[in-house]
């Protein structure tokens, strides 16, 4: 295994800003567009995504390198990753419910949504393709989660303003939202040359 030689701190910043999982890699768009109508839900979902991403990226790294590679079962990774993610989400849901019912009310409804959020599976697949080490994986998972959270909060705020503007009828809703995301992507990716991720 030849892990890329990347410092952890630049990797963290790159995964939050310049290689934002959402704006540069288009992952997690579905829930991003539908949830960002509302500020509070965006916050809840962002938090949940960050938590799940951090935990699953570590776990999937362990499963891939400790179980699948030694057994020569790499081709099963899609099924294994999605199962790990689904079970992880289930466990987190149960733990949060037991430990903090208050947090459960905020996060609970978003957790099932996360299983089918492309960002989670996407990060696990990127870890494997880019051959990150365990620590790099954890940092990349955390950074991607934070980046996703930041992006959804920003978009929720922008959408609040845009709704009041004079937008052509046919462009209302998804159309203008997608174009807004485009401008956000330009702003985020603008510094891409400074921080490499792979």
């Amino acid at each position: 295994m030849n892990a890329p030689d990347i410092n952890l701190i630049p990797l963290l910043f790159a995964s939050i800003f310049t290689s934002n999982i959402l704006l540069a890699n288009f992952l997690g768009m579905c829930s991003f567009i539908s949830i960002s109508k509302d500020m509070q839900s965006s916050n809840g979902l962002g938090m949940a995504v960050t938590l799940v991403l951090f935990l699953t990226s570590g776990l999937n790294w362990v499963v891939y390198h400790m179980v699948l590679v030694p057994l020569g079962l790499e081709y099963l990774r899609f099924i294994i990753f999605i199962t790990v993610i689904a079970s992880m989400v289930q466990i987190i849901e149960m733990v949060i419910d037991r430990v903090s019912p208050k947090l459960y009310i905020t996060l609970g409804i978003f957790l099932p949504l996360i299983t089918v959020n492309c960002a989670i599976l996407g990060v696990s697949l990127f870890l494997e393709i880019r051959e990150y080490t365990f620590l790099q994986s954890l940092v990349y998972g955390l950074g991607s989660g934070l980046g996703w959270w930041l992006a959804i909060m920003l978009l929720a705020a922008i959408r609040k303003k845009v709704e009041k503007g004079p937008v052509p009828a046919a462009l209302k809703g998804p159309g203008i939202t997608v174009i807004t995301i485009g401008f956000m992507a330009m702003a985020f990716i603008g510094f891409g040359g400074m921080l490499p991720v792979q």
Binding site: L23, A24, N25, F26, L27, G28, M29, C30, I33, S34, Y75, L76, R77, F78, I79, F81, I82, T83, A86, T115, V116, N117, C118, A119, I120, L121, G122, L125, F126, I129, P168, A169, A170, L171, P174, G175, I176, T177, V178, I179, I181, G182, F183, A185, M186, I189
Partner: protein, 204 residues
């Protein structure tokens, strides 16, 4: 949806009035990333057509055997199995494209359109009709993605399917190769689509 939809009406519905991308903004996650080249988009969407048709067929065939509580998980695993098949085929026959698509082939699993159609249609309808629904929905998806890829490749590289079509003097637009343009082009395509629909008087 009525109990026995006519195949012809379904075709129109899935390709246009209820197009998964225009009307529901589903499944753009894994899709936008591959639209900077027509060839990649074509392969990717063909993979989606195959996975979607087979998933709908399988879900429809075994729908009475799946306990309601775990049906989401079962559907996901069915989709994942077909995606593995597609991935292996791509690696074997089209290794270059497989590398270019990278993780996005695997991400077909979490493509909301496939899950959405399996849940909304294949759960209640007979197998053949479900296959038809899956395939036509995927074609609707393919149409929009190809339109986006056409614009992006033409302006970004001056080529179509890798063949140079623009004259030498044409300066490629670098932005079209980069991620933000996918959002702009998609936004504009949605705008045009919806504007035409409104003129037709369809409920937008």
């Amino acid at each position: 949806m009525s109990s026995a939809p006519a195949p012809g009406a379904m075709l129109r519905d899935n390709l246009w009035t209820n197009n998964p991308i225009f009307m529901q903004i589903l499944g753009i996650c894994s899709a936008l990333a591959v639209t900077n080249l027509l060839t990649n988009t074509m392969i990717m969407t063909i993979a989606v057509v195959g996975v979607m048709g087979m998933t709908n067929l399988t879900v429809s065939l075994i729908k009475s055997l799946i306990p309601r509580k775990v049906r989401m998980m079962v559907q996901t695993l069915i989709i994942a199995s077909y995606v593995i098949v597609v991935d292996i085929i791509l690696r074997a026959y089209l290794p270059d494209i497989s590398r270019a698509l990278g993780p996005y082939v695997g991400l077909i699993i979490t493509n909301c359109i496939i899950m959405g159609r399996a849940e909304a249609f294949a759960q209640q309808n007979p197998p053949l009709l479900s296959v038809w629904d899956g395939v036509t929905s995927a074609f609707g998806y393919m149409g929009v993605l190809l339109a986006i890829a056409l614009i992006r490749e033409l302006l970004g590289f001056g080529s179509l399917f890798g063949y140079q079509v623009m004259p030498e003097i044409f300066e490629p637009w670098i932005i079209m190769v980069m991620p933000p343009s996918a959002f702009f082009v998609l936004g504009i395509v949605i705008w045009i689509g919806k504007a035409i629909m409104e003129r037709e008087g369809a409920p937008a």
